[in-house]
Symmetry: C2
Subunit: 178 residues, 2 copies
């Protein structure tokens, strides 16, 4: 793990030498995960992690609903649906949950977390000001852990599991004090 | 698709009535995808989508490397490795690519995109100022499409595929002009 400067990063094979002006204004807006039961997932993401539900879209004929969540205060968002839709599309770090109607009646798990074969997607990550305090609270709330802070060699990070079993990494920006 | 106010959203079953103060400062920081060949993926995400490589971490013994990408200017970031690590951990909308050493020599595809069985993760989404211009540029660059703007009934969105086959939705905040 060599310390790296911006020049080192620009020299990594594959990295484009300059940013194409045609990509100006591009925003990594959201990540979509399918969930078995939106009531359970909304409880988890709002109560445990602090997300706000910013938009819900129902497709009755195609039998699915979309839930857009963001780690922001609901009061920051426009109150009208169209204004909030546009606001949301400009944000970074939105979580989209897709509910295919009826999966909530099927036995869990319905979906694949990506971390056993066939692998692909690995996890999402929530950064918190104090990862020890956050983990203590999650344990008290009965949230299942994939990896506690004390497990393994990487002591600064933990992984919890959401109601579908998707892994959520917890980190803090500042180094962990001993 | 009923227009919804913030009050409607707060009343959706499962949504927590108030945000727990213990979640203050939580940030949806990143999404992790495994990639077969980082040289090819870095080219795609930096040249085609405008991401900057903000951090690279090699785990030689465990034989994997992590690449952290963000849709921001490299010049905005601290130049020293530790400063940039902390800056990165405070951002929303970071993309983490994991390379398990050696997969680049295996026949593609190595990873599962989540959109055939077993399903789970669905896609990431990049919001762009002008989705028609973005799609025209991607077509000119030879990027494969899962769904062009003109396909199907949802005319405002497109899906491209990254080098591992992961779906990337393209949207624009403003309604599409006719």
């Amino acid at each position: 793990m060599t310390a790296q400067t911006r020049d080192d990063l620009s020299a990594v094979p594959g990295v484009a030498p300059i940013r194409d002006a045609a990509t100006a204004g591009f925003v990594f807006n959201h990540t979509m995960l399918r969930v078995r039961d939106p009531r359970v997932s909304l409880d988890f993401y709002t109560r445990v992690l602090g997300f706000a539900l910013a938009r819900k879209v129902d497709f009755e004929q195609a039998k699915f609903s979309l839930y857009f969540l963001v780690l922001a205060e609901l009061a920051e968002m426009p109150d009208d649906d169209e204004g909030r839709r546009q606001w949301l599309a400009r944000q970074r770090g939105v979580l989209e949950l897709t509910h295919n109607h009826g999966t909530e009646s099927q036995p869990a798990p319905v979906y694949h977390d990506g971390n056993s074969e066939p692998r692909g997607f690995g996890h999402i990550c929530v950064s918190v000001p104090d990862v020890r305090a956050a983990c203590a609270r999650m344990e008290a709330l009965g949230v299942p852990f994939q990896k506690k802070l004390s497990d393994g060699s990487m002591r600064g990070i933990a992984f919890i599991k959401d109601p579908d079993g998707y892994w959520i990494e917890l980190i803090q920006p500042a180094p962990l004090a001993d």
